[in-house]
């Protein structure tokens, strides 16, 4: 039975991309695969939002990109985290934890 796919919260995609890229230089395809694998198939990023997000993050200077050879010998664009991006990721992570904690508290009280 296929697992139900969840929509990504607005603004979370940027954080997820930064987090995946933190692990090391990776191309767009790799990012979408890893998000799917690590979330155990719950999260699936549409290419239509992934690539514009990547280019936006690159433009803001949070990601650095360079062309390199992929494992199949083809030219691919690899993204890696910049120092500015690392700072941004830390901020977004702490914001996320605060938000998730707050939502969790409310859900517990309401039960």
């Amino acid at each position: 039975m296929p697992i139900e796919k969840s929509d990504l919260l607005q603004g979370t995609l940027d954080m997820l991309i930064l987090k995946i890229v933190e692990l090391g230089p990776v191309h767009g395809y790799g990012i979408s695969q890893r998000i799917r694998q690590i979330s155990k198939e719950v999260l699936q990023v549409q290419q239509g939002s992934l690539y514009p997000a990547l280019h936006r993050l690159e433009k803001r200077g949070w990601l650095a990109a360079e062309w390199g050879e992929s494992d199949n010998g083809r030219q691919a664009k690899f993204y890696k985290l910049s120092a500015k991006g690392r700072k941004q990721l830390a901020t977004e992570e702490s914001n996320w934890h605060r938000l998730a904690g707050a939502v969790g508290h409310i859900l517990q009280t309401a039960e």
């Binding site: 767009g28 290419q47 239509g48 690539y51 199949n72 691919a76 664009k77």
Partner: protein, 216 residues
């Protein structure tokens, strides 16, 4: 930097975007083949999964287009900051530009009206300007008046000699020469005929009286 790139290297940008997206679709295809699909079906599925590629391309172009606006805004901001920081220098530049542009457009509109735009009636290049000098007065005085009123201006007597300055356009340059002329009444037909032997009669259509060139 991004703005200039996408402005001047739109093609290069498109090629880059295309390569990036094509790589993704090819990876999906090879994954599908590894999963046991036939190559054709694998590619079809990959394209299906990827969705509207042109739409993605357009979205990506949008991301880069926005940056043009942002760079222009940033340039504008720094321009205003510079103007505020050194007002005297900026004023000099602005005044120089304003005067330069103003003078240029003034000269151009004059040239345009005189040389480039034909006059709104036929045979514009045969047009003459006549200025009238009264030779009796020491200081040459210009009368601007229709020839019909010349008689009164030069003292009321027909046949009075006066200096005419004729300026005409001969197709290449403005030529000016002075001639002595006399005003005769149209009614003095005999005299006009007689004097015309010594000169030339300029008939001015909207004047009652023709002008006669006296000593040409």
């Amino acid at each position: 930097m991004f703005g200039w790139k996408s402005l001047f290297r739109k093609r290069a940008l498109d090629a880059q975007l295309d390569t990036e997206l094509r790589f993704h679709i090819d990876k999906l295809t090879s994954d599908n083949i590894a999963g046991g699909m036939a190559p054709d079906e694998a590619r079809r599925q990959a394209i299906l999964e990827f969705g509207g590629r042109e739409q993605v391309m357009e979205d990506l172009r949008d991301v880069h287009r926005v940056s043009i606006i942002e760079t222009s805004l940033a340039n504008l901001k720094s321009a205003f900051r510079f103007i505020r920081k050194s007002p005297s220098f900026s004023m000099t530049v602005i005044l120089t530009l304003a005067l330069g542009i103003g003078a240029n457009s003034a000269v151009f509109s004059a040239l345009d009206a005189i040389l480039l735009r034909p006059l709104p009636f036929p045979d514009g290049d045969h047009l003459m300007r006549l200025s009238q000098y009264n030779t009796r007065v020491k200081s040459a005085q210009t009368f601007v008046a229709p020839a019909s009123s010349l008689g009164t201006l030069v003292g009321g007597s027909f046949g009075q000699r006066f200096l005419l300055r004729v300026i005409r356009w001969d197709g290449r340059a403005l030529r000016s020469r002075s001639i002595f002329a006399a005003l005769i009444s149209r009614s003095a037909d005999t005299r006009a005929t007689c004097c015309a032997r010594r000169g030339k009669i300029y008939g001015v259509s909207d004047c009652d009286d023709p002008l006669l060139n006296w000593n040409r």
